[in-house]
């Protein structure tokens, strides 16, 4: 301890105090303040940039959600349109089918009617023809074989009527 006090140099103490305080003041003005300010400014800039990036990310997510929604809507709309078209098609087919059926039925009916009338006329013609033929046959038979013509004819007539009514 005595050695310490003995070695203590007031001059060195004085110079250290003066030089060091001077150094602190000088460095505060010319070094520490500009450096710390610049660093702080930079850190602020980095923070702002990070915040902006975060915000952009959020916007992006929102935008994506919107897009998704739009896409979904469009898909539903397409679906609906397709369904409608399909329905129309089915209906058209159905209608056409019905119409065609109707037309066909009508035609069939007409044909049937025509066939019926034709059949009737053919039958009448056939009757007449057969009657004629029968008369001819009967004439020939009567000419050659039968004496009582009127009796014979009556007989044939009654027989034919019996035949046709069958």
């Amino acid at each position: 301890m005595e050695k310490l006090i003995n070695e203590f140099s007031i001059g060195l103490f004085f110079w250290q105090l003066v030089l060091f305080i001077g150094l602190v003041l000088l460095l505060r003005k010319f070094a520490w303040k500009p450096i710390l300010d610049a660093v702080e400014k930079r850190e602020g800039g980095i923070k702002d940039a990070l915040d902006a990036a975060e915000k952009a990310k959020l916007d992006m997510t929102n935008l994506q959600a919107d897009n998704e929604k739009l896409l979904k809507e469009a898909r539903a709309e397409r679906e609906a349109m397709l369904k409608e078209a399909r329905d129309i098609k089915n209906k058209m087919i159905e209608d056409a089918k019905g119409e065609a059926q109707e037309q066909a039925n009508k035609m069939i009916e007409q044909a049937q009617a025509a066939i019926e009338s034709e059949k009737k006329s053919a039958m009448a013609e056939l009757k007449n023809h057969v009657a004629g033929l029968s008369l001819e046959i009967a004439e020939k038979v009567v000419r050659t074989e039968l004496s009582n013509k009127d009796k014979q004819l009556e007989l044939v007539e009654s027989m034919l009527a019996e035949k046709t009514s069958k």
Binding site: L12, Q16, F20, F30
Partner: protein
Amino acid sequence: MQNIISRKTICLLFLMVTTFSFAKEEKHEGEGDIKTEIKEYISHHLLDSHDFSLFSYTTDSGEHKYIGFPLPVILWDNGLKVFSSSQFHHGESVAEVDGDYYTLYHNKVYKTDAEGTITLDDHHHPTNVKPIDFSVTKNVFTIFLVGLLMFFVFSRMAKKYKTNSLPKGIGRGLEPIILYIRDDIAVPNIGEKKYKKYMPYLLTVFFFIWIINLLGLTPLGVNVTNNIAVTLALALITYFLTTFTANKNYWGHIFWMPGVPWPMKIILAPIELLGTIIKPFSLMIRLYANITAGHIVLMSIIGLMFIFKNWIGSPLSFGLAFALSLLELLVAALQAYIFTMLSALYFGMAVEEHHDDH
């Protein structure tokens, strides 16, 4: 003989310690003399000096030669006396200024007569008049140099920020340290709101102690932080900054400790008051003792080389000194860190806001 000299020289170069006089090798001295000489050399090395000598040697004719340069001597002895330290001839002659005679005795300036007589008392202390010595000594010169270096480096670094927000060159290495002091020393100890006004001091004291401790490990042979005057000056600044920026809450805790019965308050007040002085005192002693101890041990180990004059001594001494030098590198930074950290802690106590939790 030649062998021993070259081995020593190489080791000296390796250790980058140019502090031992080459002259000693030429003499055939007894072991006891060498031990005493080493002891004296170490204590001499730890002292400040009035000239900046890098090393000295003795010529064949016995003349002492010093390599270095003289520094101004400034004395207050009934008026300011300024003269070059070269007038002392390294303590070998008496300097005459305006009819007064001064001489060096154990690196201290004493007033003397034309013959340079020094009268000693029973305790071997000179009784001559000691003028107040404001000389620019080796340490003052080093402090000034370090200040200049710091100003140059950091103001240049600050200028770079004007054009670019990112550090360039040496700033790349220094910026993380500055940020470390801000984010891990100042902010946690002082608080987010008030740390800014202490930053210039904390940054300056950290870099100052660190650089000057590192310089102490170089072969320049300067030891600034092992002077109690230097550490006292630094600790005093911390003390005054703490005292003059302290708020009401801090003084309240010292003089009238809240939350304890009143007899305790009376007992605690002087203890707390003493504590405010002990805190910077411990700062002063810690830095001084760590650096001084490091220098003494390192130099003693190097000195071993000259005591063991055989093949095992030099490698052993070299290995130990090398390991210790690495440790001292760590201590240099650690002491700077501790000083800064504790200063920040004391500032934090001074500006702490009132809490109700005690």
